[in-house]
Structure formats: C-alpha cells, structure tokens
Amino acid sequence: MMAAPRFDRALLLVTPATLFMLLLFIYPFIYGLVLSFQPMEEAGWLANYQKFFSTANLWMTIGTTLKLALPATMVNVALALPMAFKMRGTSRIQKLVTMLLVIPVTLGTVLIAEGMLTYFGPRGWLSQTLQWLHLYEGPIRLTHNYWGVLISLVISGFPFVFLLMLSYITGIDPVLARAASTLGASPAAQFRHIYLPLLIPGIAMAFCLAFVQAFSVLPSAVLLGAPAGPTRVISIAAYEAAFEQYDYSMASAIAMIMGFVQLVVVAAVLSLRGLFYRGPVAGGKG
C-alpha cells in the first residue's frame, strides 16, 4: 500500500486567494485595530473608545443605525420570502422578475437616492399624482427623514434578499411538497411543515447578509435622510472623524465598534438557526 503523500501540491492553488485575503482584508483590519488603540491626543490606549461611549452624538449612532437596518432587513426578508415562494415554479415569470430585480442591484445606492428624491420628494411625481387625484392634499414628507432612508434600504436590499431566497427555495425538491399533499397537507400546511423548516438556514443567512449591508449604509443616509439628526448613522460618524477631523485613529475605533455590533447581531441570528434542522434539503438518495 502506498503511503499518503505528506503535502498535497494542489493546495498551492489556494495561495493567490490567501494572499489576496491577507493583503486586502486581514492586513487592513489589523492595521485599523491597532490604529484605533493609538489615539491622536496623548491619552490612554482606550481613549477613542471612552470618547465614543461618553459622547452622545457618537454612541447614539449605534441605536440610530440599528433602528434603520433591522426594520429594513426584516421588511426585505418578510417581502422576499412569500414572493420567492410564489415564484418557485413559474420559470418565465421568474426570469423576468429576476431580471427586473437585478437592475437596482447594479444601479447602486446613489442613483436610487437621486431617483427617490425626484419621485418621493415634496414636489415629486408621487406627491403631484396624489394631489392631482385629490387622494392626499398635504405635503408628503418621505425624503430627508427616517422614512426616506428606510425606503431606500428596502429598495436596494430587496433584490439581494429575493435572489438569495429564490435560490434557497428552488433548491428544495418540489416532490416533498407533492408527497405532503398526498398525505393530506393543504398548500398552507405544505409551506408551514415542509418549506419553512427547510428554509430556516437560508432565511438566517439572507437576514445576516442583508443586515450587514444595511448597517453600513452611508450614501442614502446622507442624500435621503437627515444626517444631522434622525439618520445620523454610524458610518457618518466614522466619515466625519476620518475626513472632517482627520482623526484616523478615532475613525478606526468607530469602524471597529461598527464591526462588533454587526458581529453580535449575526452571531445572535446564526445561533438561533442552530436550534433548527440544518441538513440536506432533498428527500432520500435521489
């Protein structure tokens, strides 16, 4: 019998990817982490963090951001799940909707924000149409406040969540639902007993990815929100520290706090996922 080779040379193929990760992710991360403990003013190594948690317009950004990112993510998941479920079999409509949904992903948040300003603004089409139809006469305030940012987060995040959910749902063998139906399960029961339990890992994953994306919102919070008050999100605080006060050390500390909050939420969601079934989603050996 031949001894197993001690070093598989195929492993060398992962070298470029590893170098890439080291150079572009791990090194900047560690650099930022170290920098955050070297405050500009002569003070203790925790000075940046002490300042963050003792200054109201800094620590409050965590709550402000969570108040935007969590509802936006929940709305996106709640909308995408039934839509993707309805869309699981009909391939032609599925293709069309998928194509339409990829567009906002490719446009980017700034263009969406510009469009929303002209559409949702006080003198935008929506407002004018409603007034013309005499449905609502008052001014509509959907921009430059909390709602503007929330809507833009839903618009930019939904396609992403929808496409993820669709791929999870189409990965579930439809014969399982058929088997359930022959055993007496109505469509609602099929969803509750078959699809939903098998989708939990996918829902958790989509939630995490969408949340991380929404939590780091910057352009729409500035363009569509009220960056001085209700939509002063954490990335605005980091931006101000870095590019208005030129305090890179403080900015790094804010970025680290931001990452930590994201990590806590993601860890909480993923640990909830651990309570559910996480095996293969096909029936039998196929």
Partner: protein, 354 residues
C-alpha cells in the same frame, strides 16, 4: 374519505402537456376492484407515471374522469383524495424523524396523539423498522428509507396505495427483498395498489393484473400469465421478452393456425391477431426455442456466440436461411457447433405486418 371502496373507475383519462402534440396519456380506461394489485408496465415515456400522477391528483386531467364508487374525484386536490403514494426517490421529509415522517399524514388528519403514536408503531412493525423511530432519513440506508416511505403511505389507511417505481433506486439484491416485502404487506393489508414499473419481472411477480402501455396508449390489460404467454400485439411481445422477431411470408392460414416461410425456413405458428396481407411478424421467446434432437418446427443452424448462464447457455444461432435467432441450449454449447432448434407451434406467435 371512505376507506374502503368497491371500484375505482378510470374513464378515458387523458393528459396532454403544453407544447406536445401527442397526449402523454391517451384515454386510459380501467376498473380497479377493492384489494386488487395493478401494475402499470411500460418503457420510460409510456405515460405510466403520468397516469399515476393523474390518479393521485398531482396532475390535472385534460379529458376523461375518475370515479371512486359513485363519487367523481378527479376534481379534488391531492390532499382531499387521501391516496397513499410512494415516490421513486422516496420523498421523505429530511428534517423529520422516521416517527414524524410516518405520523405526518395522521397529523394532517387531526388524529389524536395517542392513537397516532399507536398507529405509527403498528406501521413501523409492519415494515420491520421498530427501533429506528428517532433517526432522520439521512441516517437510513436506501432500503430502510423505502420502508419508511411505504409505512408513511399506508399508515393513513388509504383506499388506494400508489407506487411510482419504488424499487428502481435499490440494488438488485435489495430489490428482490423489497419486492417480497411489498407482496407480503399487500397480502396482510389487502389495500388496493397501483404500481408503476418498467421492470417486467416486478410486474409479473406482484400484480393481479398488468396494464401494458406504450406512448400513452394502453396495449393490453390482463393477468400476468396472459401478458407473458399471449401478448396482444408485437409491442407487448417485444417488451415481454420475445427477442426473436422475424419477418416471414404467410403460406397458408386456417383459423389461427398459420404456416409461414422465409427461404428454406418453414414454421407453423399461431396467429394472435387477424392477419392481413402476405407478410407477418413472428415472435418467439428464447426460452421456448430449445436445442433438441427433433420435434416440431425444426430449425438448423450454427452457433455464432454462446453466453454461459450457469444452468444453461444463451446462444445466438445463424440459421441456414440467414436469420439470427436467440435460443437456450444446455450449458457447454460452444460457438461453431452445429445445432438443431425446435419450438412448439402454439409458442410461435404470429402478428400482422403493419
């Protein structure tokens, strides 16, 4: 849903798929009596699975109707029909234990927990899987998964059990075992069963009646011995293992007795359908074309190829007339030997040349 019924009637059940001119299932009419085991047999694409899905309610009919005693059921959704179905890939719910898989149908019917637990236990004993209640399907072997699928279908005590090629994913040995299991369970419960398969042996050994299908059309309905011995047409004959199919000239015919010729080869056979024209197809099973010293329908030839099969050999014989015939010969026959074959005239089946 009534658990027992006297008759399930399929009346000209037809199913067409969009974008296809030919019907996948064309006017299937069939009466299934209580307790009967019916096999739908045919090559892939013959419409047998379509028929099963139409009965289960997983496919809508394009025409015809399905009656259970006096009730029309083809308009009901599958969950209202209450037929138990066993799927080809088992379709076990991967996130549920064996116990919950089997109990699912009872849960959907609102059966009380105590009674459900008792019935699941009985079903587990029936398929000999006691002790595996708390495993997930992924932890079971293929044969065990198949048993769970069967238990899940019969625990709801359906009037009709539908099986869609349930053994095709198992290896040869397990397939024989499960075949015997299915026969035993059918004997014990006496539930009417419709069983879809492309395997003649399965159909012959399990069914009370066999429905042979081809391209959506029923070719023959009959008892296994009838399908095996008297195929209604050439398609059925070919499918049932009549490997020697020869084109021959009709020399004379009186009643069903026919004399045929092909060059120096002369055979007397039995017409299975009214003949028309001078030419006809002749079908002979290799097992019935025996190497022997003499007898009726003597055919001389040279062995071109011999396959040793243990008890005997399968030989390819080139006849004097130039035709190649498959036959059985005593083990030890070798290529190049001269051989004389003979076959009883009632086993030379003659079909019209269409």
């Amino acid at each position: 849903m009534n658990l027992d019924f006297n008759e399930l009637k399929l009346e000209q059940v037809t199913r067409r798929f969009a974008g296809s001119a030919a019907a996948a299932l064309n006017e299937l009419s069939l009466n299934v009596r209580r307790g009967e085991f019916i096999a739908l047999l045919g090559p892939s694409g013959c419409g047998k699975s379509t028929a099963l899905n139409c009965i289960a309610g997983l496919l809508d009919l394009s025409g015809g109707r399905i009656m259970l005693d006096g009730t029309r059921i083809d308009v009901l959704p599958p969950e209202k029909r209450g037929f138990g179905m066993v799927f080809q890939n088992y379709a076990l719910f991967p996130h549920m234990t064996v116990r919950r898989n089997i109990g699912f149908g009872l849960l959907m019917r609102g059966v009380g927990a105590d009674q459900a637990a008792r019935r699941v236990q009985t079903a587990l004993e029936l398929v000999q899987l006691s002790g595996h209640e708390d495993k997930l399907p992924g932890q079971l072997s293929g044969g065990q998964q198949q048993r769970v699928a069967i238990a899940r279908a019969i625990v709801i005590e359906p009037p009709l059990v539908l099986m869609d090629e349930p053994l095709s994913n198992l290896d040869a040995k397990l397939r024989l075992e499960m075949r015997a299991e299915i026969r035993r369970i059918h004997r014990e419960l006496g539930r009417s069963t419709i069983y879809v398969t492309h395997d003649q042996d399965e159909a012959l050994s399990l069914a009370d009646r066999i429905v042979v299908m081809k391209e959506g059309v029923v070719q023959q309905i009959g008892a296994p011995a009838q399908i095996y011995g008297q195929p209604a047409n050439l398609h059925v004959a070919r499918f049932m293992g009549y490997r020697n199919v020869l084109e021959m000239e009709v020399e004379s015919a009186s009643g069903s007795a026919v004399t045929l010729a092909r060059g120096p080869l002369r055979l007397s056979g039995t017409a299975m359908q009214p003949l028309a024209g001078k030419r006809a197809w002749v079908a002979i099973r290799p097992e019935e074309l025996a190497a022997s010293g003499g007898g009726p329908n003597l055919i001389e030839g040279v062995i071109e190829n011999a396959e040793y099969c243990g008890r005997d050999s399968l030989i390819d014989v080139r006849t004097v007339a130039g035709a190649l015939l498959h036959a059985r010969a005593p083990a030890g026959s070798a290529a190049g030997e001269q051989v004389r074959l003979s076959v009883a005239p009632e086993r030379v089946l003659v079909y019209p040349h269409l």
